[in-house]
């Protein structure tokens, strides 16, 4: 049971988050809801990237913290490179979210609605 969970639980979490986010983006009409969906997709992607850098016996990649963390005389740290990539991805996600919200607020000021369908009709 434990082995099964270790292998699969993080993958299930990340993939279902990506799926839920994609579903929101594809079906919802409210602009703010679409941005919520984009955020959830981003969380799922980050989780996926961290999960494939991990090993059940791994310790965190910090020298001063791992001094006494030998497992059976052997030690493995989680792969730090994907972690650094995810740091970057999180910050980029914040930037995109802020810009999208600014555009959304602007759209509400000018069209008086956040519904994508109504905006399309107003353009015609």
């Amino acid at each position: 049971m434990q082995v099964f969970l270790q292998n699969w639980i993080y993958l299930i979490a990340s993939v279902s988050l990506i799926g839920v986010g994609l579903y929101i983006v594809l079906t919802k009409e409210n602009i703010f809801r679409i941005i919520v969906g984009l955020n959830i997709i981003e969380s799922g992607t980050n989780l996926f990237m961290i999960a494939i850098a991990w090993h059940p016996k791994a310790v965190m990649p910090i020298y001063t913290a791992t001094d006494h963390l030998a497992v059976n005389g052997k030690v493995i740290a989680a792969d730090p490179l994907p972690q650094s990539l995810v740091l970057t991805a999180i910050v980029i996600g914040l930037g995109t979210t802020a810009l999208a919200l600014a555009i959304g607020v602007k759209i509400f000021e000018k069209y008086g609605t956040l519904d994508v369908r109504k905006i399309k009709e107003a353009e015609k």
Binding site: Q2, L5, Q6, I9, Y10, I12, A13, S16, L17, V20, G21, Y23, I24, K28, E29, N30, F32, R33, I35, V36, N39, I40, S43, N46, L47, I50, A51, A53, W54, A58, V59, M60, P61, I62, A77, A78, Q83, V86, L87, I90, V91, G93, L94, T97, A98, L101, A102, G104, V105, F108, G112, T113, L114, D115
Partner: protein, 84 residues
């Protein structure tokens, strides 16, 4: 042992993300997005990535949600009701 805690967190995250899909109010869907971020940051900690966990908690769960709520307040000022 910690994997069972992680499993519970994962179940909570998935349920919360489903709330984000089906909730009628925009505010509750935004809050559940923040909760998803918070749960994911907890998972990062279980996955031995404390740097990422702190960053996600501060940026993804904290500031991102705050900006969201501020923007939502700005939109609500208009008279038009805009729930789906």
């Amino acid at each position: 042992m910690i994997i069972y805690v992680a499993t519970i967190v994962v179940i909570v995250i998935i349920i919360t993300s489903l709330i984000a899909v089906f909730s009628k109010k925009l505010l509750s869907s935004i809050i559940s997005m923040g909760l998803v971020s918070l749960g994911v940051s907890g998972l990062f900690f279980f996955l031995q990535a404390p740097d990422v966990a702190i960053t996600e908690a501060a940026i993804g769960a904290g500031l991102s949600t705050a900006i969201f709520v501020i923007a939502l307040k700005k939109v609500k000022k208009g008279e038009t009701k805009d729930e789906e």
